[in-house]
Amino acid sequence: MGSCWVFSMTTNHKVKVALFGTFRNYTAANPIELSLPDGANIADVKAALILALEISDNYAPIEALVQTSALADDYTILSRDFTLNGDVNLAILPPVSGG
């Protein structure tokens, strides 16, 4: 009886996420580098970021902080319909406190 192999052809992309403010407490690696599949959305990036930060140190749970933070490229907060289609540099921006 022959075997049948199914190969996934999903392409993964490098997502570098720069950390600011309180995120700097969680890891010395900055930016933090993630690998995510083509078509990943904001929720996918945040989920991967939570996982990466949770294993990088023993600080308090990070999920609430990530969920109240914004993902951005150089100049703009990413729109809700963002989908990954290549390597990208992003930033995770926690609640702001300038002035």
């Binding site: 600011f20 933070s69 914004a70 150089d74 930033a91 926690p94 609640p95 702001v96 406190s97 002035g99």
Partner: protein, 148 residues
């Protein structure tokens, strides 16, 4: 001459530069807001404050805020907005806003608008260093909810 000057600065902020920028023979009113590091917060003695910032977006947001102030209060108004990045000791100046206009009302309104919007929208973060050796990133305003 551009009506707007914005900057995220790694060197001490200059009040004189701000006043000079918004001054002009056509302006009968100059107004300024200066933010500085105080020695206490929520009952804890503070030693210093460090400011972190996402520089590319800060410049864009600062210019947007000043453009909005001009549109809202006076099309001929001049606006100057600088914020410090790095560590400041007590008394150090963290933000300088200056507004110049023909009349006083737009300058009061403009200054107030700019600082309030900055605090809500500019990607800048404040870490307080306390006398007891502890330090803490302060809670703040969530940025736009487009992606959450």
């Amino acid at each position: 001459m551009d009506q707007i000057f914005v900057e995220l600065s790694l060197t001490p902020l200059s009040i004189t530069d701000a006043a000079d920028f918004v001054n002009g023979d056509e302006n009968g009113a100059l107004n300024m807001f200066i933010g500085k590091v105080r020695n206490h917060n929520l009952g804890k003695p503070v030693l210093a404050v460090s400011y972190d910032a996402y520089a590319p977006m800060v410049a864009k947001v600062f210019r947007e805020i000043c453009t909005e102030a001009i549109a809202k209060f006076d099309p001929n108004m001049r606006c100057y907005l600088t914020h410090y990045k790095g560590r400041l000791e007590i008394g150090g100046i963290s933000v300088v806003i200056a507004v110049g206009s023909a009349h006083r009302e737009p300058t009061f309104l403009g200054c107030r608008y700019i600082i309030e919007e900055l605090k809500k929208r500019a990607p800048i973060w404040k870490k307080e260093h306390y006398v007891d050796g502890d330090d803490e990133w302060l809670a703040g305003h969530e940025l736009g909810l487009e992606n959450v």
